[in-house]
C-alpha cells in the first residue's frame, strides 16, 4: 500500500470515527423510509458511520395471498398471483401457469410460447430499467433517474399495446396466452428497440465514466463468493459473483430452447458490476425480442382450458428479472389448488444483501441493500417467533382465527 493510500485510509477512518451516535448505535431503516418503495424494517447497528450488523425484520407487506389462492379456482388464481408483484407480474403468472400445465398433458402452441418469451423479455427490460433509474435516485443523481424512467415508458407502451395493460398484464393463461399479437406489431417493436439499445449504450458510457457514480459503486458491496454460496442468492446477484446460473438456459421454458439467451457473468461482485451486468442483460433481451418477433410461427395461441386439473404435486420455476422464481402447486383433482407455495427471488437474496453491507458505511445502505432489486411485497410471510421459548412456527388463516377467538374468550 502506497503512502497516499495509507493517508487516505487514515483520513477516512478519522472522518467516520469522529461521529459518535446514541450509545447502542442503532439506526432504524424503515419500515417507512424514502429509500424503500415498500415497507420493510432493517435494524442497523452503527459504530461511527461503519455498519456492524444489519438485522432485517420482514412481514410488513404480508397479504396472505398463498392462503387466498386456496379459495379461488385455477383461472381466478392466475390473476391473483399476478398481484404479488407490480413489476414482474408476468413472471408470477407464467410460473404459476407453467407449474399447472406440467400437471396436465396439455400441448402449448408454439406461437404462444414465442409470445410468452417476448412479454417476459420486455418485462425484464422494463424491470432492469426501473432498477437502474432507482440507483440514480439512491445515489442522489436525480437526472439519471428521470431520464431512465422516461425511456422505460417506451417499453411500457409496447406492453400495453400487446396485452392491454401496463402493469398487471392479465395475459398468460393455462395452455397459452389470452390474446394474439396485434397486427403489424413489429412496426412498433423495432423502432422502440432501436431507440432503447442506443440509450442503453449511452447509459453504459455514463456509468463507466461519471466520477461520482464510479466512487459510489465501485468496490461497494463486495462479498466473497464462498460466503455468498452459503446464503443462496439467485439471479443477477449470483451471476455477478461469477456463477453462470440462469433458469432460461438451465431448464428452458417458453421458447428459450429455440432463442437461446447469452448468459452474462461478472467476477467483481460489487454494485458497479451489477450495473454493468443488468445493462448487458437489457441488450441481450433486446436482441431476443427482435429475434423472436422476426421468426415467430403462425398458428393458435391457446387451446381449450380444462376446468379441473388432475391430482398431483408440481414444481415450476422461471427466471424473473430478479432471479429464480419458484412455485409449488398441489392439486387434488378439483377446480381449486389445495396448496400453492411461492419462493420469490427477494427472499433468497435478502440475507446476502445484509451480508454485503457489513463493513460499509451508512451512506452505502440504500445502494447495496437495494442492489439486489428488492421487492418486499413479493417476499413477506407470516412466521410467529416466540422469543421466550425460542420456538418458531408458521400459521394459517383458520388457525389464526381460532387462536384469536380463544385468546379473547380467555382474556376478556
Amino acid at each position: 500500500m502506497s503512502d497516499k493510500d495509507q493517508a487516505e485510509e487514515k483520513l477516512a477512518k478519522i472522518s467516520t470515527g469522529l461521529i459518535q451516535y446514541s450509545p447502542e448505535g442503532l439506526v432504524p431503516f424503515g419500515p417507512v423510509h424514502p429509500a424503500l418503495k415498500e415497507p420493510e424494517y432493517f435494524k442497523i447497528i452503527l459504530e461511527g458511520e461503519k455498519i456492524v450488523q444489519v438485522i432485517p425484520r420482514i412481514g410488513y407487506a404480508h397479504r396472505g395471498i398463498e392462503r387466498a389462492l386456496q379459495d379461488r379456482n385455477w383461472i381466478q388464481a392466475i390473476y391473483l398471483v399476478e398481484r404479488i408483484c407490480g413489476i414482474c407480474s408476468f413472471s408470477h403468472s407464467l410460473a404459476f401457469v407453467q407449474t399447472v400445465e406440467s400437471l396436465t398433458e396439455l400441448e402449448i402452441p408454439r406461437r404462444a410460447r414465442y409470445i410468452r418469451l417476448i412479454i417476459a423479455e420486455l418485462e425484464r427490460i422494463h424491470s432492469h430499467l426501473l432498477w437502474l433509474g432507482l440507483v440514480g435516485y439512491w445515489t442522489g443523481f436525480d437526472t439519471l433517474f428521470m431520464w431512465i424512467w422516461r425511456d422505460r415508458e417506451r417499453v411500457l407502451d409496447l406492453i400495453e399495446l400487446i396485452t392491454g395493460n401496463r402493469v398487471h398484464k392479465s395475459y398468460a393463461t393455462i395452455t397459452g396466452v389470452r390474446r394474439d399479437l396485434p397486427e403489424n406489431i413489429e412496426r412498433h417493436i423495432q423502432p422502440a428497440m432501436k431507440y432503447l439499445s442506443d440509450r442503453v449504450k449511452f447509459y453504459k458510457e455514463i456509468i463507466n465514466s461519471e466520477a461520482t457514480i464510479l466512487i459510489r459503486t465501485k468496490g461497494i458491496g463486495w462479498v466473497s463468493p464462498d460466503v455468498a454460496v452459503r446464503l443462496c442468492p439467485v439471479g443477477p446477484l449470483l451471476r455477478c459473483m461469477g456463477f453462470k446460473r440462469d433458469v432460461r438456459t438451465d431448464d428452458p421454458y417458453a421458447a428459450y430452447d429455440e432463442i437461446v439467451p447469452d448468459v452474462k457473468t461478472s467476477t467483481d461482485s460489487d454494485v458497479h458490476s451489477l450495473l454493468n451486468l443488468r445493462l448487458d442483460e437489457i441488450e441481450d433481451s433486446i436482441r431476443m425480442v427482435l429475434e423472436a418477433i422476426t421468426s415467430i410461427p403462425t398458428g393458435q395461441v391457446k387451446s381449450s382450458i380444462p376446468r379441473a386439473i388432475p391430482r398431483g404435486d408440481a414444481m415450476g420455476h422461471v427466471e424473473a428479472p430478479r432471479g429464480e422464481l419458484f412455485y409449488f402447486v398441489r392439486s387434488e383433482g378439483g377446480n381449486k389448488p389445495v396448496r400453492v407455495k411461492i419462493r420469490t427471488p427477494t427472499l433468497a437474496n435478502i440475507l446476502t444483501a445484509t451480508e454485503m453491507l457489513k463493513g460499509h458505511t451508512l451512506a452505502d445502505v440504500p445502494v447495496v441493500l437495494t442492489g439486489m432489486d428488492p421487492c418486499f411485497g413479493c417476499m413477506d410471510r407470516l412466521t410467529i417467533i416466540d422469543i421466550g421459548e425460542g420456538k418458531r412456527w408458521q400459521i394459517n388463516g383458520e388457525e389464526l382465527r381460532r387462536y384469536g377467538i380463544e385468546w379473547y374468550n380467555k382474556n376478556r
Binding site: E8, L11, A12, S15, T16, L18, I19, Q20, Y21, S22, L26, V27, P28, H33, P34, A35, E49, G136, Y137, W138, T139, G140, F141, D142, T143, L144, F145, M146, W147, R150, E210, T212, I213, I215, R216, T361, L362, A363, D364, V365, P366
Partner: protein, 321 residues
Amino acid sequence: MINWIFQLLVFPGLTFFVWIAFAFEWLERKTAAKIQSRVGPLTAGPKGFLQPVADYFKLIFKEEIIPRNSDKFVFLFGPPLYFSVPAIGAAFIPILGEKGVLSHSYDLLFILFIMAFSVLMASMLGYAAGGRYSTISIGRLVLQYTSYEVPLILSILAPALLARGLSLSKIVSSQISHWHVFYAPISFAVFLIVSLAELEKPPFDIPSAKTEIVAGWMTEFSGRPLAYIKLTKNLNYVFLSSLATTLFLGGPLLPIDVQDEFLKTILFLLVFLIKTFSVGFLIFIIKSALARIKIEQATSLLWVITTPLSFLQLLLIVLFR
C-alpha cells in the same frame, strides 16, 4: 434614519432578498425540470412563478408537531434566528452602489463569521429536535463544515489580496477595469465547489441525503419552523451567489460611465441581478449533473484537492502582483 431603515428592511435589504430567494427556488426547480425532461411548477402564477410563495404560505398554516424529547425553546425560536443569519449577511452586499447598507471597513471578516454561524445554528436546531436521523446529520454537517471552511476562507482571501483590503466595497471598487475572476480563476472554482457544500446540494448533500437519513437535521420540523428553514436555505443560495458576484465578478459595476443618478441605480441593479442569477444558474447545472458522494470522500476531496489549490492561487497572486 428612516431612509436607512427602509433600505435595510425593504429595498435593497430584507424584502427584496426574500423575493429573489423565491425567484431562485423557482429557477432551480424549472432548470432541474428542463434538464430531467419534466415540466416543473406550472399552475401558480405565470409559468408556476408563484409556486415557491404558495409552498411557503402552505407550510405557515400547517400543523406544528413538536417532538416530546426536543428542546422546545430552541425548536420554536431557533428557525427565525437561523433565518436572520443570511438576512443580515445580505445587507452587506453592495447592490445599488459600491457600498452595501451595513458596509464598514472590515465587513469581509463579518461575512465569514456569518457563514460559520449559519452552520452553528443548523447544528443547534438539529440537536434541539433530537432523533437519530438528526444526530447523524449533524455529525456529517459539522464534519463537512470543518473540511470546507479552510478552502472557503482561502478562496475568499484571493480577491481581498488582489484588492488590498478587507471590505466588500473596496473589493468591488478595485474591479472597475478587470474582474478578479480573471486573476483568480482557481479561487472562483473553489468558491463554487465550497458553495455547493455550504448549500448541501449534490454532490455534497450528505447532511440531508434523503435516501439515507430522510431529511437530515430537518426531519423533525414541520409547519412554521420548517417554512423558516426552507426560506433560509433559499436565502443562503442568493447570499452565496451574490457574494460570488461581489468578490469575483465585479458586483454591480458598469463598464461605461453614466451621468444620470437614477438611470445609474437602475443599471446597477440590473447588472447585479443578471450576474447573480448567472452564478445561481451555474450552480443549478452543476448540481443536476452529479451524484451524491460519501462523507469520507467529501472530506478527502475538500482537504486533499481544494485546499492545496486555493493555496496555489494565493501563491500565484503574491508572486505575480
